[in-house]
């Protein structure tokens, strides 16, 4: 990288925007952790199920005993709170990120795109100086007589690039025939609101589904650049506000909308907290959040190191390549779901399924319902995701292995975006004979009607 680029990326910027993001993110995570506890999800997702789905390579990671789980989430709350107030900010970010990610790795069935984003943002807060403003850390530094340290544009750039990845890949994923030519699954989702007064009729009208599908794709593809560009920033944020709040109002997607709105503040002018507080509250804004330091050009810039830039570049390259890995697999990605996770395929499909297993041992041949040992969430995820169907088949093979060689076949059917149900897994394929891996799954039955067809509804 040339020195001019490095110098450009190292230009100092106000730490206030980053500090405000850290504080808001920490508060949101505090709320999210409390909500997780309050809704009894520890019991429902981790304690009650007798079986847990693993990520490849993390089979050794299992949920703690019940008391350990509660301790884990209590520590997660403390770390999020410390992050919010900026106490040992980067250490808190590391602790929160580790605890959060660890919990996510307990069970693949709980995977959510925004949980993945939380893990990544926590990681990024470790590698950027997120405690330089709006924090106990900066307050303590001032008390020690240390000058407030600015942050570099590269720090904002890294976080913005992460958001760019999220929205752009979410937008690209929507560029498929179902989304654009059939308005599915938006059409199906909107039908849920047919009984709403005033808006109900509007929602069920076919043009509405198309308009919302296309608008959603356009929004995802354009929002970050529009936010980045100063002239369109306000309009873009108003758009984002409408988009995310309407999603939050219409669908039970928890803190996802708020996480995105908080994250989008990173695209604002880094000095926005000072500007906002100065103009709207008429109260003196905290020194660390304000333009209280010398003008930027007078500050001595703290350049980001070559190593930091190299690692950031490698990280972004990975973030760019990871969502594209789905292209390496044969078949319709939304059907096979190979390369679906960690690829920002957000609110993209409506898929339902059912699965039961036929177990064959030298002594007997019988059906097994996974319902007996799985939670409702696990069962729902299992029924549509081939890799989980395979993993559970291997679990059944181990369970009956004392009866001799075991064959396990899956009777799995699924429906994608309103299509009639069809087999998802080859019913003759012995899943117990295939090891788990990252290669193309030979047992997935191709989607029978992948093209664009406007099914009569």
């Amino acid at each position: 990288m040339s020195e001019s680029w490095r110098a450009r990326l190292s230009r100092p910027a106000s730490a206030a925007g980053l500090g405000a993001f850290r504080a808001l993110f920490g508060l949101l995570m505090c709320f999210g952790t409390l909500r997780f506890l309050a809704r009894g999800w520890i019991e429902e997702l981790y304690v009650r199920p007798e079986f847990h789905f693993s990520y490849l390579g993390f089979e050794w990671l299992r949920p703690w005993p019940t008391w350990g789980l509660y301790l884990h989430f209590a520590l997660m709350f403390v770390a999020a709170l410390a992050l919010a107030v900026g106490l040992y900010s980067r250490l808190s970010a590391a602790a929160f990120g580790l605890l959060f990610t660890w919990a996510e790795l307990f069970d693949k069935a709980t995977y959510l795109n925004h949980y993945y984003l939380v893990s990544l943002l926590a990681l990024l807060l470790v590698v950027v100086p997120c405690g330089n403003a709006c924090s106990v850390d900066s307050w303590r530094a001032r008390r020690r007589g240390e000058a407030p340290a600015p942050v570099a544009w590269a720090h904002y750039g890294l976080l913005r690039a992460q958001l760019f990845c999220v929205y752009t890949f979410a937008g690209l994923a929507k560029l498929n025939s179902d989304w654009l030519l059939r308005a599915e699954p938006v059409r199906g989702w909107l039908l849920q609101f047919a009984d709403w007064p005033l808006l109900g009729r509007l929602f069920v009208a076919q043009p509405s589904a198309f308009a919302m599908s296309w608008a959603g794709a356009l929004f995802d593809l354009s929002v970050v650049p529009l936010l980045w560009w100063k002239r369109t920033r306000k309009a873009a944020f108003a758009l984002a506000l409408v988009f995310h709040l309407s999603n939050w109002l219409m669908f039970p997607i928890g803190i996802f909308s708020w996480l995105m709105l908080v994250s989008l503040t990173l695209c604002w002018d880094p000095d926005w907290p000072a500007a906002l507080l100065g103009r709207w509250s008429r109260v003196p804004h905290p020194r660390s959040c304000s333009r209280d330091e010398r003008p930027l050009r007078e500050r001595s810039p703290r350049l980001v190191g070559r190593t930091w830039l190299a690692l950031a570049g490698a990280y972004l390259l990975l973030q760019f390549l990871l969502p594209l890995r789905g292209l390496l697999y044969p078949g319709e990605l939304n059907w096979t779901e190979q390369g679906f996770r960690f690829a920002w395929r957000v609110m993209l499909i409506e898929k339902t399924g059912s699965v039961e297993y036929e177990v064959e041992t030298p002594r007997r041949r019988f059906l097994v319902s996974p319902r007996d040992e799985l939670s409702a969430l696990q069962l729902r995820m299992l029924s549509t995701q081939p890799d989980m169907i395979h993993e559970y088949a291997l679990h059944l093979a181990r369970r009956y292995s004392d009866e001799g060689p075991v064959k396990v076949r899956a009777r799995a059917y699924a429906s994608l975006n309103g299509r009639p149900s069809q087999p998802l897994i080859d019913p003759e394929f012995d899943l117990a004979s295939a090891p788990l891996g990252l290669g193309p799954a030979p047992y997935i039955v191709p989607l029978e009607r992948p093209g664009a067809e406007l099914a009569a509804r």
């Binding site: 429902e44 306000k234 039961e356 969430l377 029924s383 149900s421």
Partner: protein, 363 residues
Amino acid sequence: MRRRDFVGCVGVGAAALVLGRACLPEDTVDVRRRLLRSWTSELAIGDYQQLVSASRALGARAGELRDEGGDAELTAARQAWNVARAPLKRAELFGFGPYLEEPERFGPKLDFWPVRPDAIQAVLAGTGVLNALSARSLGAPAKGFPALEYLLWEPGVAAQDFAGSRRGDYVVALAAELERVAQALLDAWSAGFAESISEAGESDDELYPTLPAALGAMVQQAAVLIELIRGDKLAKPLGDSAGGVPQPEKAESQFSQRGMQDILDNLDGVRMLLFGAESPEVLGLSRYLERLKPQLSSRLRVRFEAATAACAEVRLPLTEAVVRAPELLRSAEKALGDLQRMIQVDVLGALSVSVGFSGNDGD
């Protein structure tokens, strides 16, 4: 636009959206809400009310049997058992919540099967007092419908064996306990559980966070019941997990030979949930489904009728059919499997409930 104006506009917009969420859904017009209310009040509570009154009648017949010990009294008691059984089996669709979950867990107290004759014989051989009060402390295998069935239909037992005997006292005590548990189950539904389903999304009750989630869960219950019929009520007696050797002792209602009727009653409950009933108060899912996917609604009806017909085709008692007509049972199992799959995949898919369906956040 000045910054102040911009923030003001955004604030007003956000407030309008938040207020909108509170104001927009109107229970009175939402067909899904009407469906849930109908299912909980007319199907679940309605059947449990019938169960309570039929259990009371069974108690009266049991008393007469103990007092008189005649063949007519035995026949009447058996008939009363059969009558009381029907609403329980129709309502098996609602075998969750207080039926299944601690601390109430009324299900096993009402219907623990396959019956364990040893547990019942142990009570018969005992010397302790047998009355409505002592029956409360009996374990699930020694009470409920299956235990009563065993006592009334046990091979080699005659009507006079009930007259003034411990067997007679046992039957009376179990009938009283049955009525008590049925009443408690009805009370649990009436006192708030039904409302936690029908008013989903309207309060902080987290059983079902949204109306679509509650609707999806209820429809899923139909598939769960059909899976239970296939796995427990058909596959086990057929001996699927025993190398294909028929296991008639694992059949439901094996002494009264009501096993297939139990299944048909189960399906009757599913029918009412899916298609409603003659009474205008009982609404069926098809009413909503027709609006979403009319073709699917009619295909569902065809598949349901096929499954019911396949079950009705089994005219032998279940314990005999597993030996003499297993192919009919296999055919019924297959038709039920097709129906289950259509409900789980196509119908739930049409309802578009997969986002956040579980209560956990979606996407």
